[in-house]
Amino acid sequence: MAHPISARRSTTVSVFALLCALLCVLPCVLLCVTGCKGKTDEIVIGEFGSLTGGTATFGTSTHAGVLQALDEINARGGLLGKKVKVVTEDDQSKPEEAVSAVLKLIKQNNVVAVIGEVASSRSLAAAPQCQRNKIPMLSPASTNPKVTEAGDYIFRACFIDPFQGSTMAKFAVNSLKLKRFAILTDTKNDYSVGLAQYFRETAKKLGAEIVAEESYSEGDIEFKAQLTSIKTKSPEAVFVPGYYTECALIARQAKELGLTVPLLGGDGWDSPKTTEIGGAAVDGTYFTNHYSEQENRPEVKKFIDTYKQRNAGKVPDAMAVLGYDSMMMMADAITRAGSTEGPKIRDALAATKNFAAVSGTITIDAQRNAQKSIVVLKIDAGRFTFVESVAP
């Protein structure tokens, strides 16, 4: 045995030698195990999302939408005469995993384009990798304006925070004639924080007053403390920009505490779960969304029917719609590009104009954001009814 208290130079060296050897061998083994080259007779598109972890419910919804679009595309004969394949990677709702996932898609699966992520944080983490490798990335639902600023290969299929936040503020002040608002924000969620910020700014500009600002965290189920505080300030409406996972419960507890003013929300409310969990408590809520079931556009009806068929009668939420639209936009871009080369798909995506998506007619603007009109819905006896439409 080495001498315990004398300097152990030789042994230190051997540790490093061994470890270095180990570190070299492991990746090689990996390479053999997972290394798979894409076949040339198919077009591979990558998808990364949160299939597990804190926001798994959004990731799986998006995934269902993407798969539905994929099947429709392949049923039509694929793209450029080739079958389309989607490789999906889970990022466990963690930013650094999103980086791994995207790199794997690009380097191992040789994808021609990437769809993802719902959460802006993960999109922001992954975007530089797509940009560096000149692979177009289309985010279905990352609303933070910064996402597409990562580079000219990064696009999105959804609204950005300023648009939704200020639209709701204008609607509440101008159409509903309300003057006193409370805001209940999910501080762990940048979408919620973003919407709240622009709602606040616009509402104040229009002369309304924010009488209370409270917050909660993703995953909470107890909001009575915040709601009781809000109630004492007697607002005329409460803006709750968040996801249906919490919003429906907020509505319920608000009613239980006797806070009966209307709630206002964003597209995070769009889910059958909102009415299922919220019950009668969500009636009277106004929220902004991409489309309305009552619009009678053929895309909408077809999408919802097929979705129900494929997913055991489940009604799609906003995430599923955006996942579907993203895949369809990407397919459209690839067809127009006539090629699977990154730069050409990018140019085609950037040139997307008046694309008839389920979530509206989409035009990609110079900032690579989707321009589409917004609709305001009201929940009435458990149904989402159309109130008005606002052009971008």
């Binding site: 152990r8 983490a125 910064k146």
Partner: protein, 315 residues
């Protein structure tokens, strides 16, 4: 001169990371390179936590908190302070900033809490990690819930591995020096150690601060490798992940911690093909590994000890 000669091997090893890094970047695709870099960062986290949990016998569950401090401070530093400096200057600056900030946090947390024992210490360190996260989430200057991005890609394979080697070397030499053996003595029997004239609190705090320092450096490297940080990367689960590495490697075994970091990092990637079954299998494997080798992969031994190679009795 004499110093150089005596430390030629480690110095060469550190220096060799740059040509090796260049070589790797030419031959290995960036996906593998990224996994290799993650291994380095995780190894640094595991080894530094091992100093606290394995060698000194304390129980910290807040390593992700220190990592977060390092990541955010260094990121803020490179965005607002050393913006525009040449990389050769900016890199050491941000690493030092991240490390020192985390070390300071370690001192602040350690001073009052280290008199708590075992699980009480664990829960307060866990609490500290969560407090850090809540504070960051509510600090608009560092992005809050939107995360912080735009850091220059200062860290790469070479800088990560150079730092990992230095970290391992410092901790190895410390705990294997006559003076440093007191760390292990504190773990083995605190009362006896005190009776031998060892200021146990001071050793515990030293371990805490030094461990936090390297976690901060790891955080800084992480932030500048990914280029975007968000509090979701530094949850209590990240702390748990590092604790798992330490225990799986064998409490107190530095080489064990490195091996466990590598194994677990590669394992999560290798299981990718399982998609949403991945973490289920991962957790089952974790339980099985622990049941079959309860003392960790190397037990308390180092891979360099012949006992490990020659007899299977070592656990």
């Amino acid at each position: 001169m004499e110093l150089l000669k005596r430390n030629a091997v480690p110095l060469l090893l550190v220096a060799a990371q740059w040509p090796v890094g260049w070589l790797l970047s030419q031959t290995v695709n960036s996906y593998y390179l990224q996994i290799i870099v993650y291994i380095g960062i995780n190894a640094m986290l595991a080894v530094s936590l091992n100093l606290i949990n394995g060698i000194t016998g304390q129980f910290s569950l807040g390593h992700a908190g220190f990592m977060a401090v390092g990541a955010y401070v260094s990121a803020a530093c490179s965005l607002f302070l050393v913006n525009g400096w040449p990389a050769a200057l900016a890199l050491p600056a941000i690493l030092l900033a991240g490390g020192l900030a985390a070390a300071l946090a370690g001192l602040v947390v350690g001073l009052p809490t280290l008199r708590l024992r075992g699980d009480y210490l664990a829960i307060t360190t866990l609490g500290f990690g969560e407090i850090i996260r809540v504070v960051i989430l509510n600090t608009a200057a560092v992005g809050g819930a939107r995360g912080l991005g735009g850091m220059p890609p200062l860290s790469d394979f070479a800088s990560v591995y150079a730092c990992t080697i230095v970290c391992v070397l410092v901790i190895w030499r410390l705990v294997h020096s006559p003076l440093g053996k007191a760390f292990t003595a504190v773990r083995e029997d605190e009362i006896a150690a005190a009776a031998m004239g060892i200021d146990t609190t001071r050793y515990k705090i030293t371990a805490f601060v030094l461990g936090a320092f390297w976690a901060g450096v790891a955080g800084a490297l992480f932030a500048h490798f990914i280029g975007y940080i968000h509090t979701n990367s530094f949850t209590f689960l990240k702390s748990v992940e590092v604790v798992v590495m330490v225990v799986l490697g064998g409490m107190g075994s530095i080489s064990g911690a490195i091996i466990a970091a590598a194994v677990l990092t590669v394992l999560t990637e290798a299981l990718r093909f399982l998609a949403d079954y991945r973490m289920i299998i991962y957790s089952v494997l974790l339980i099985v590994m622990m049941l079959t080798r309860p003392g960790g992969l190397l037990g308390r031994h180092e891979i360099t000890q012949w006992r490990f190679w020659s007899s299977r009795t070592a656990r």
